[in-house]
Protein backbone atom coordinates (compact mmCIF):
# COMPACT_ATOMS: atom_id res chain seq x y z
CA UNK A 1 0.00 0.00 0.00
CA UNK A 2 2.65 2.56 0.83
CA UNK A 3 3.96 2.08 -2.70
CA UNK A 4 1.57 4.51 -4.35
CA UNK A 5 2.32 7.50 -2.12
CA UNK A 6 6.05 6.82 -2.57
CA UNK A 7 5.69 7.02 -6.32
CA UNK A 8 3.60 10.18 -5.99
CA UNK A 9 6.19 11.69 -3.70
CA UNK A 10 9.00 10.76 -6.05
CA UNK A 11 7.18 12.24 -9.00
CA UNK A 12 6.53 15.40 -7.05
CA UNK A 13 10.17 15.57 -6.05
CA UNK A 14 11.32 15.11 -9.65
CA UNK A 15 8.83 17.71 -10.82
CA UNK A 16 10.17 20.11 -8.21
CA UNK A 17 13.73 19.56 -9.33
CA UNK A 18 12.73 20.09 -12.94
CA UNK A 19 10.76 23.22 -12.15
CA UNK A 20 13.24 24.84 -9.79
CA UNK A 21 14.04 28.15 -11.39
CA UNK A 22 11.38 27.46 -14.03
CA UNK A 23 12.05 24.63 -16.46
CA UNK A 24 13.31 25.98 -19.79
CA UNK A 25 11.02 25.63 -22.77
CA UNK A 26 12.30 24.45 -26.12
CA UNK A 27 10.62 25.44 -29.37
CA UNK A 28 11.08 23.71 -32.73
CA UNK A 29 13.12 25.44 -35.41
CA UNK A 30 12.47 24.14 -38.89
CA UNK A 31 15.69 23.54 -40.75
CA UNK A 32 16.62 24.74 -44.18
CA UNK A 33 19.29 25.92 -46.56
CA UNK A 34 21.16 28.89 -45.24
CA UNK A 35 23.99 31.09 -46.45
CA UNK A 36 26.21 31.83 -43.46
CA UNK A 37 27.45 35.35 -42.84
CA UNK A 38 30.84 33.84 -42.07
CA UNK A 39 33.07 33.15 -45.03
CA UNK A 40 35.29 30.14 -45.35
CA UNK A 41 38.41 32.04 -46.30
CA UNK A 42 36.98 33.96 -49.24
CA UNK A 43 34.29 31.44 -50.13
CA UNK A 44 30.60 31.76 -49.32
CA UNK A 45 29.30 28.87 -47.23
CA UNK A 46 25.85 27.42 -47.77
CA UNK A 47 24.78 25.05 -45.04
CA UNK A 48 21.84 22.74 -44.72
CA UNK A 49 20.61 23.22 -41.17
CA UNK A 50 18.74 20.19 -39.85
CA UNK A 51 15.61 20.84 -37.78
CA UNK A 52 16.36 21.35 -34.09
CA UNK A 53 14.71 22.57 -30.90
CA UNK A 54 16.07 25.63 -29.12
CA UNK A 55 15.36 27.19 -25.74
CA UNK A 56 12.88 29.97 -26.40
CA UNK A 57 14.81 32.30 -24.10
CA UNK A 58 18.38 32.55 -22.82
CA UNK A 59 19.05 30.63 -19.60
CA UNK A 60 18.06 32.84 -16.67
CA UNK A 61 19.98 33.54 -13.48
CA UNK A 62 17.31 31.64 -11.55
CA UNK A 63 17.62 28.59 -13.80
CA UNK A 64 21.39 28.61 -13.54
CA UNK A 65 21.17 29.04 -9.74
CA UNK A 66 18.99 25.91 -9.60
CA UNK A 67 21.59 24.08 -11.69
CA UNK A 68 24.55 24.96 -9.45
CA UNK A 69 22.53 24.05 -6.35
CA UNK A 70 22.03 20.56 -7.77
CA UNK A 71 25.55 20.33 -9.20
CA UNK A 72 27.83 21.87 -6.57
CA UNK A 73 30.99 21.20 -8.62
CA UNK A 74 29.87 24.05 -10.90
CA UNK A 75 29.51 26.54 -8.06
CA UNK A 76 31.78 29.56 -7.80
CA UNK A 77 34.54 28.63 -5.37
CA UNK A 78 34.18 24.90 -6.09
CA UNK A 79 34.62 24.88 -9.85
CA UNK A 80 38.09 23.74 -10.92
CA UNK A 81 40.32 26.41 -12.52
CA UNK A 82 40.27 24.26 -15.65
CA UNK A 83 36.66 25.25 -16.23
CA UNK A 84 36.42 28.86 -15.10
CA UNK A 85 38.50 31.85 -14.12
CA UNK A 86 37.96 34.29 -11.25
CA UNK A 87 35.24 36.18 -13.15
CA UNK A 88 32.90 33.18 -13.03
CA UNK A 89 29.58 34.31 -11.51
CA UNK A 90 31.60 37.01 -9.78
CA UNK A 91 28.59 39.29 -9.44
CA UNK A 92 26.50 36.79 -7.49
CA UNK A 93 25.75 37.46 -3.84
CA UNK A 94 26.68 33.88 -2.88
CA UNK A 95 27.83 30.84 -4.89
CA UNK A 96 24.19 29.76 -5.24
CA UNK A 97 22.30 33.06 -5.11
CA UNK A 98 22.47 35.73 -7.80
CA UNK A 99 21.14 38.24 -5.26
CA UNK A 100 18.96 39.74 -7.95
CA UNK A 101 15.23 40.36 -7.53
CA UNK A 102 14.95 40.02 -11.32
CA UNK A 103 16.77 36.66 -11.41
CA UNK A 104 13.81 34.82 -12.91
CA UNK A 105 13.80 37.14 -15.94
CA UNK A 106 17.45 38.15 -16.30
CA UNK A 107 19.74 36.12 -18.57
CA UNK A 108 22.60 34.54 -16.68
CA UNK A 109 25.98 35.92 -17.77
CA UNK A 110 29.46 35.57 -16.32
CA UNK A 111 29.43 31.85 -17.06
CA UNK A 112 32.27 30.02 -18.78
CA UNK A 113 31.80 27.95 -21.94
CA UNK A 114 32.45 24.81 -19.89
CA UNK A 115 29.73 25.65 -17.37
CA UNK A 116 27.27 26.55 -20.12
CA UNK A 117 28.00 23.22 -21.75
CA UNK A 118 27.51 21.35 -18.47
CA UNK A 119 24.18 23.11 -17.91
CA UNK A 120 22.92 22.04 -21.34
CA UNK A 121 24.20 18.53 -20.74
CA UNK A 122 22.12 18.36 -17.55
CA UNK A 123 19.04 18.86 -19.77
CA UNK A 124 20.26 16.25 -22.28
CA UNK A 125 20.81 19.18 -24.61
CA UNK A 126 23.89 20.98 -25.91
CA UNK A 127 25.11 24.40 -26.90
CA UNK A 128 24.01 25.36 -30.41
CA UNK A 129 26.71 25.38 -33.03
CA UNK A 130 27.36 28.66 -34.80
CA UNK A 131 25.22 27.84 -37.84
CA UNK A 132 22.25 26.86 -35.67
CA UNK A 133 22.51 30.06 -33.67
CA UNK A 134 23.00 32.19 -36.78
CA UNK A 135 20.09 30.50 -38.55
CA UNK A 136 17.74 31.00 -35.59
CA UNK A 137 18.83 34.60 -35.07
CA UNK A 138 18.38 35.53 -38.74
CA UNK A 139 14.58 35.38 -38.37
CA UNK A 140 12.37 38.26 -37.37
CA UNK A 141 8.68 38.02 -36.51
CA UNK A 142 7.67 37.39 -40.12
CA UNK A 143 10.72 36.29 -42.14
CA UNK A 144 13.03 33.31 -41.89
CA UNK A 145 15.90 35.49 -43.01
CA UNK A 146 15.66 39.16 -42.12
CA UNK A 147 19.37 39.85 -42.29
CA UNK A 148 19.13 42.16 -45.27
CA UNK A 149 16.74 44.48 -43.41
CA UNK A 150 19.00 47.45 -42.73
CA UNK A 151 16.59 49.13 -40.31
CA UNK A 152 16.55 45.95 -38.18
CA UNK A 153 20.29 45.65 -38.46
CA UNK A 154 20.82 49.22 -37.28
CA UNK A 155 18.38 48.73 -34.42
CA UNK A 156 20.29 45.62 -33.30
CA UNK A 157 23.58 47.49 -33.42
CA UNK A 158 22.10 50.44 -31.51
CA UNK A 159 20.65 48.11 -28.86
CA UNK A 160 23.99 46.35 -28.42
CA UNK A 161 25.90 49.63 -28.18
CA UNK A 162 23.41 50.91 -25.64
CA UNK A 163 23.74 47.70 -23.63
CA UNK A 164 27.55 47.63 -23.59
CA UNK A 165 28.88 48.07 -20.09
CA UNK A 166 25.41 47.75 -18.59
CA UNK A 167 23.92 44.86 -16.70
CA UNK A 168 21.92 42.82 -19.23
CA UNK A 169 18.27 43.81 -19.42
CA UNK A 170 15.31 41.56 -18.72
CA UNK A 171 14.12 38.82 -21.06
CA UNK A 172 10.87 39.06 -22.96
CA UNK A 173 10.52 42.77 -23.55
CA UNK A 174 10.50 42.31 -27.31
CA UNK A 175 8.30 40.12 -29.48
CA UNK A 176 9.42 36.60 -30.29
CA UNK A 177 10.66 35.77 -33.78
CA UNK A 178 8.96 33.51 -36.29
CA UNK A 179 9.99 30.37 -34.40
CA UNK A 180 8.89 31.73 -31.03
CA UNK A 181 12.47 32.50 -29.94
CA UNK A 182 13.19 35.61 -27.91
CA UNK A 183 16.14 37.87 -27.28
CA UNK A 184 18.65 36.30 -29.63
CA UNK A 185 20.11 39.50 -31.01
CA UNK A 186 19.88 42.52 -28.74
CA UNK A 187 20.18 41.47 -25.10
CA UNK A 188 23.48 39.62 -24.74
CA UNK A 189 26.02 37.60 -26.68
CA UNK A 190 25.61 33.83 -26.42
CA UNK A 191 28.11 31.00 -26.26
CA UNK A 192 28.08 28.53 -29.14
CA UNK A 193 29.52 25.03 -28.92
CA UNK A 194 32.07 25.53 -31.70
CA UNK A 195 33.20 28.99 -30.63
CA UNK A 196 36.85 27.99 -30.75
CA UNK A 197 36.57 27.04 -34.42
CA UNK A 198 35.05 30.22 -35.83
CA UNK A 199 38.17 30.88 -37.87
CA UNK A 200 37.69 30.32 -41.56
CA UNK A 201 41.37 29.86 -42.37
CA UNK A 202 41.90 27.45 -39.52
CA UNK A 203 40.77 24.62 -41.79
CA UNK A 204 43.03 21.78 -40.92
CA UNK A 205 42.69 19.99 -44.22
CA UNK A 206 43.21 22.96 -46.48
CA UNK A 207 45.37 25.30 -44.45
CA UNK A 208 48.87 24.68 -43.27
CA UNK A 209 49.25 22.41 -40.30
CA UNK A 210 48.96 24.16 -36.97
CA UNK A 211 47.60 27.34 -38.49
CA UNK A 212 44.60 27.03 -36.20
CA UNK A 213 46.63 27.56 -33.09
CA UNK A 214 48.26 30.61 -34.64
CA UNK A 215 44.89 32.01 -35.68
CA UNK A 216 43.59 31.48 -32.19
CA UNK A 217 46.02 34.10 -31.03
CA UNK A 218 45.07 36.44 -33.86
CA UNK A 219 41.44 36.55 -32.73
CA UNK A 220 39.05 38.64 -34.78
CA UNK A 221 41.72 39.68 -37.25
CA UNK A 222 41.36 36.40 -39.11
CA UNK A 223 37.61 36.56 -39.49
CA UNK A 224 35.91 37.24 -42.78
CA UNK A 225 32.29 38.20 -43.34
CA UNK A 226 30.04 37.95 -46.34
CA UNK A 227 28.59 41.36 -45.61
CA UNK A 228 31.14 43.54 -43.82
CA UNK A 229 28.50 46.18 -43.10
CA UNK A 230 26.69 43.83 -40.70
CA UNK A 231 28.62 45.32 -37.80
CA UNK A 232 26.47 43.83 -35.05
CA UNK A 233 27.19 40.32 -36.25
CA UNK A 234 30.89 41.02 -36.84
CA UNK A 235 31.17 42.44 -33.35
CA UNK A 236 29.45 39.41 -31.85
CA UNK A 237 31.69 36.92 -33.62
CA UNK A 238 34.85 38.88 -32.88
CA UNK A 239 33.90 39.17 -29.20
CA UNK A 240 33.07 35.49 -28.86
CA UNK A 241 36.14 34.31 -30.72
CA UNK A 242 38.42 36.30 -28.43
CA UNK A 243 37.10 34.54 -25.34
CA UNK A 244 38.86 31.52 -23.92
CA UNK A 245 36.45 28.78 -22.85
CA UNK A 246 37.29 29.49 -19.20
CA UNK A 247 36.46 33.19 -19.57
CA UNK A 248 33.30 34.56 -18.07
CA UNK A 249 32.05 37.83 -19.49
CA UNK A 250 29.28 39.94 -17.92
CA UNK A 251 27.77 40.21 -21.40
CA UNK A 252 27.90 36.57 -22.50
CA UNK A 253 25.17 34.09 -21.62
CA UNK A 254 23.78 31.10 -23.49
CA UNK A 255 20.86 28.90 -24.39
CA UNK A 256 20.71 25.22 -25.36
CA UNK A 257 19.45 23.16 -28.29
CA UNK A 258 18.43 19.55 -28.64
CA UNK A 259 16.83 17.14 -31.09
CA UNK A 260 13.40 18.31 -32.15
CA UNK A 261 11.90 14.97 -31.09
CA UNK A 262 13.26 15.09 -27.52
CA UNK A 263 10.75 15.20 -24.67
CA UNK A 264 9.96 18.60 -23.20
Amino acid sequence: MPRVPTIVLLTLLLAQVACAGGAPRFVPVSGGRFVSSLLDGTRTVTVRVAPFAMMEEPVTEAQFAAFVRHHPRWQRGRITPLFAGPQYLAGWRTPTDPGDAGAARRPVTGVSWFAARAYCDSLHAELPNWYQWEYAAAADATHHDARADTARRNAILAALMHATGQRPGLIGRRPANLYGLRDLNRLIWEWVGDVGALFPEADGDLGSAGSGSVLRLCGGAALAFRDPSDYALAERVAALSMLAPTDASPFVGFRCVRNPGANP
Binding site: W130, D203, S208
Partner: protein, 196 residues
Protein backbone atom coordinates in the same frame (compact mmCIF):
# COMPACT_ATOMS: atom_id res chain seq x y z
CA UNK B 1 13.39 -14.04 -5.20
CA UNK B 2 16.12 -13.98 -2.61
CA UNK B 3 18.62 -14.56 -5.36
CA UNK B 4 17.32 -11.64 -7.37
CA UNK B 5 17.35 -9.45 -4.31
CA UNK B 6 20.94 -10.34 -3.50
CA UNK B 7 21.93 -9.83 -7.12
CA UNK B 8 20.25 -6.44 -7.03
CA UNK B 9 22.07 -5.64 -3.81
CA UNK B 10 25.35 -6.69 -5.35
CA UNK B 11 24.73 -4.50 -8.36
CA UNK B 12 23.72 -1.54 -6.22
CA UNK B 13 26.62 -2.07 -3.86
CA UNK B 14 28.97 -2.56 -6.78
CA UNK B 15 27.96 0.63 -8.50
CA UNK B 16 28.04 2.35 -5.13
CA UNK B 17 31.60 1.24 -4.57
CA UNK B 18 32.58 2.10 -8.11
CA UNK B 19 31.07 5.54 -7.68
CA UNK B 20 32.89 5.96 -4.37
CA UNK B 21 36.12 4.85 -6.05
CA UNK B 22 35.68 7.36 -8.81
CA UNK B 23 34.90 10.12 -6.34
CA UNK B 24 38.01 9.27 -4.34
CA UNK B 25 40.08 9.21 -7.52
CA UNK B 26 38.87 12.59 -8.70
CA UNK B 27 39.33 14.25 -5.32
CA UNK B 28 42.86 12.87 -5.14
CA UNK B 29 43.70 14.54 -8.44
CA UNK B 30 44.95 18.14 -8.39
CA UNK B 31 42.39 20.84 -9.28
CA UNK B 32 44.00 21.42 -12.69
CA UNK B 33 44.13 17.74 -13.68
CA UNK B 34 42.34 17.29 -16.98
CA UNK B 35 41.26 13.86 -15.75
CA UNK B 36 38.68 15.85 -13.76
CA UNK B 37 36.55 16.54 -16.83
CA UNK B 38 33.10 14.94 -16.61
CA UNK B 39 33.28 11.15 -17.13
CA UNK B 40 34.38 10.11 -20.61
CA UNK B 41 34.43 6.49 -21.77
CA UNK B 42 36.71 5.64 -24.70
CA UNK B 43 37.18 2.68 -27.00
CA UNK B 44 40.50 2.10 -28.76
CA UNK B 45 41.61 0.64 -32.10
CA UNK B 46 41.54 -2.86 -30.60
CA UNK B 47 38.01 -2.46 -29.27
CA UNK B 48 39.10 -2.04 -25.65
CA UNK B 49 36.91 0.12 -23.39
CA UNK B 50 38.27 2.30 -20.65
CA UNK B 51 37.53 5.57 -18.91
CA UNK B 52 39.64 8.62 -19.67
CA UNK B 53 40.29 9.12 -15.94
CA UNK B 54 41.68 5.58 -15.65
CA UNK B 55 44.72 6.75 -17.66
CA UNK B 56 45.98 8.79 -14.69
CA UNK B 57 49.20 7.47 -13.19
CA UNK B 58 51.57 7.79 -16.16
CA UNK B 59 52.83 10.84 -18.04
CA UNK B 60 51.13 10.91 -21.43
CA UNK B 61 50.72 12.86 -24.64
CA UNK B 62 47.08 13.65 -25.38
CA UNK B 63 45.59 15.14 -28.52
CA UNK B 64 42.58 14.89 -30.80
CA UNK B 65 42.13 13.91 -34.45
CA UNK B 66 39.76 12.29 -36.92
CA UNK B 67 40.56 9.24 -38.99
CA UNK B 68 39.38 10.41 -42.43
CA UNK B 69 41.48 13.59 -42.19
CA UNK B 70 43.90 13.65 -45.09
CA UNK B 71 46.47 16.21 -44.13
CA UNK B 72 46.78 17.66 -40.68
CA UNK B 73 45.96 14.54 -38.64
CA UNK B 74 48.48 12.35 -40.52
CA UNK B 75 51.03 15.11 -39.92
CA UNK B 76 50.01 15.13 -36.25
CA UNK B 77 50.54 11.37 -35.89
CA UNK B 78 53.82 11.34 -37.82
CA UNK B 79 55.11 14.32 -35.80
CA UNK B 80 54.28 12.49 -32.58
CA UNK B 81 56.26 9.48 -33.80
CA UNK B 82 59.23 11.75 -34.62
CA UNK B 83 58.95 13.41 -31.21
CA UNK B 84 59.03 9.99 -29.54
CA UNK B 85 62.13 9.04 -31.54
CA UNK B 86 63.78 12.31 -30.48
CA UNK B 87 62.93 11.50 -26.86
CA UNK B 88 64.69 8.14 -27.17
CA UNK B 89 67.65 9.78 -28.88
CA UNK B 90 67.90 12.22 -25.98
CA UNK B 91 68.16 9.27 -23.59
CA UNK B 92 64.55 9.24 -22.49
CA UNK B 93 61.82 6.67 -22.84
CA UNK B 94 58.79 7.25 -25.06
CA UNK B 95 55.60 8.23 -23.24
CA UNK B 96 52.26 6.70 -24.24
CA UNK B 97 50.07 8.66 -26.65
CA UNK B 98 46.30 9.04 -26.58
CA UNK B 99 44.43 10.57 -29.50
CA UNK B 100 40.66 11.00 -29.23
CA UNK B 101 38.53 11.37 -32.35
CA UNK B 102 36.22 14.35 -32.72
CA UNK B 103 34.36 12.48 -35.46
CA UNK B 104 32.69 9.68 -33.47
CA UNK B 105 29.97 9.37 -36.13
CA UNK B 106 32.50 7.92 -38.58
CA UNK B 107 35.41 6.75 -36.49
CA UNK B 108 34.31 3.31 -35.39
CA UNK B 109 36.78 0.67 -34.22
CA UNK B 110 37.40 -0.48 -37.81
CA UNK B 111 38.30 3.06 -38.92
CA UNK B 112 40.58 3.50 -35.89
CA UNK B 113 42.21 0.15 -36.55
CA UNK B 114 42.83 1.08 -40.18
CA UNK B 115 44.33 4.45 -39.20
CA UNK B 116 46.60 2.69 -36.68
CA UNK B 117 47.73 0.22 -39.33
CA UNK B 118 48.35 2.99 -41.86
CA UNK B 119 50.59 4.85 -39.45
CA UNK B 120 52.23 1.74 -37.96
CA UNK B 121 51.18 2.57 -34.41
CA UNK B 122 49.87 0.09 -31.87
CA UNK B 123 48.15 -0.05 -28.50
CA UNK B 124 48.85 0.38 -25.67
CA UNK B 125 51.69 2.79 -26.53
CA UNK B 126 49.71 4.66 -29.14
CA UNK B 127 45.96 4.69 -28.61
CA UNK B 128 43.59 5.93 -31.30
CA UNK B 129 40.18 6.23 -29.67
CA UNK B 130 36.67 7.49 -29.93
CA UNK B 131 34.25 8.34 -27.11
CA UNK B 132 31.55 5.82 -26.25
CA UNK B 133 29.92 8.14 -23.77
CA UNK B 134 30.58 11.56 -22.31
CA UNK B 135 31.29 14.95 -23.82
CA UNK B 136 34.46 15.15 -25.94
CA UNK B 137 33.85 18.90 -26.18
CA UNK B 138 35.01 19.18 -22.56
CA UNK B 139 38.28 17.44 -23.47
CA UNK B 140 38.69 19.70 -26.51
CA UNK B 141 38.05 22.71 -24.32
CA UNK B 142 40.72 21.89 -21.74
CA UNK B 143 43.26 20.96 -24.43
CA UNK B 144 42.50 24.01 -26.59
CA UNK B 145 41.40 21.87 -29.55
CA UNK B 146 38.45 23.23 -31.52
CA UNK B 147 36.63 21.78 -34.49
CA UNK B 148 33.65 22.49 -36.67
CA UNK B 149 32.23 20.20 -39.35
CA UNK B 150 32.55 21.75 -42.81
CA UNK B 151 29.47 21.71 -45.04
CA UNK B 152 31.41 19.86 -47.74
CA UNK B 153 32.70 17.22 -45.32
CA UNK B 154 35.73 17.19 -43.08
CA UNK B 155 36.40 19.55 -40.23
CA UNK B 156 37.80 22.95 -39.59
CA UNK B 157 40.07 22.32 -36.64
CA UNK B 158 43.38 22.99 -34.99
CA UNK B 159 45.93 20.68 -33.42
CA UNK B 160 47.23 20.81 -29.89
CA UNK B 161 49.04 17.91 -28.25
CA UNK B 162 49.50 18.23 -24.50
CA UNK B 163 52.12 16.60 -22.33
CA UNK B 164 50.40 15.53 -19.12
CA UNK B 165 52.15 14.63 -15.91
CA UNK B 166 51.00 11.46 -14.18
CA UNK B 167 48.21 13.33 -12.42
CA UNK B 168 46.91 14.92 -15.59
CA UNK B 169 48.30 18.45 -15.34
CA UNK B 170 49.25 20.01 -18.67
CA UNK B 171 53.01 20.66 -18.58
CA UNK B 172 53.61 21.68 -22.20
CA UNK B 173 51.78 21.75 -25.52
CA UNK B 174 52.85 21.32 -29.12
CA UNK B 175 51.10 22.01 -32.45
CA UNK B 176 52.44 18.69 -33.87
CA UNK B 177 52.87 20.40 -37.23
CA UNK B 178 55.79 18.42 -38.62
CA UNK B 179 58.48 20.18 -36.64
CA UNK B 180 60.11 18.49 -33.65
CA UNK B 181 60.40 21.20 -31.01
CA UNK B 182 63.49 20.48 -28.87
CA UNK B 183 61.89 22.23 -25.88
CA UNK B 184 58.90 19.90 -26.07
CA UNK B 185 61.21 16.87 -26.32
CA UNK B 186 63.19 18.12 -23.30
CA UNK B 187 59.94 18.55 -21.35
CA UNK B 188 59.00 14.92 -22.09
CA UNK B 189 62.42 13.55 -21.15
CA UNK B 190 62.43 15.59 -17.97
CA UNK B 191 58.94 14.50 -16.98
CA UNK B 192 59.69 10.89 -17.69
CA UNK B 193 62.84 11.10 -15.51
CA UNK B 194 61.00 12.87 -12.70
CA UNK B 195 58.40 10.12 -12.69
CA UNK B 196 60.74 7.13 -12.61
Amino acid sequence: MKRIASLLCAILLGTGLAAAGQAAESTALPPTSIYRIPPLTLIDQDGRDFTFASLAGTPRLVGMFYASCRMVCPVEIETLKRIERAVVKAGGRPVPVLLVSFDPAHDDVAALKQAARQHHVAAPEFLLTRARSGDIGMLGGVLGVSWRPLPGGGFQHNVVVALLDREGRILATDPADGRVDPAFVRAIVQQERDTH
